[in-house]
Symmetry: C2
Subunit: 95 residues, 2 copies
């Protein structure tokens, strides 16, 4: 089991533009067969700071997700509005 | 419902020291009546980067957690070994 925290930082003026892109990304990703959990949150103190908490069976499933049509179409559209690079953290359960 | 991501950064030479402190913190916190979920993870690329994913009914419950005896005893013991300030992010569900 692999957990991922992916953090995006979007320019304030582009937040309204990315919201429907995120909505579609979440919807389509949850339909992937190997997706265990794919939740999107927004930082209470920063409306341009988007935080995904994801769960995949393994790294191969995460890689497959990053190769889907919806990922390859939507993520570059979102990233065009980044104000800084996203932070992807792969984490293992403690004890 | 409130979700929290809390990230600690511990000095490499102190990791073995903090592990039992984290273990006790997780164990005691999960016994708190208002705790919905309290999970601890470790960054696959950085064994000193500890990531909590927490769920509380509201901010008052989180504040109560930060005022428990175990929190006030264990967290300063852990923080003594920090290599940088922890990052606490309160997040709301997107859509």
């Amino acid at each position: 089991m692999l957990k991922v925290i992916a953090q995006d930082f979007i320019k304030p003026e582009a937040i309204e533009i990315v919201l429907p892109l995120y909505r579609e990304l979440v919807e389509k990703t949850r339909q992937e067969e190997l997706c265990i959990s794919y939740e999107l949150f927004i930082d209470q103190k920063d409306p341009g700071h988007f935080v995904f908490i994801e769960e995949w069976p393994d790294k191969a499933a995460l890689d497959a997700h990053c190769n889907t049509g919806h990922f390859k179409r939507l993520v570059p559209m979102i990233n065009a509005y980044q104000r800084q690079d996203c932070i992807i953290t792969l984490i293992d359960a403690f004890a």
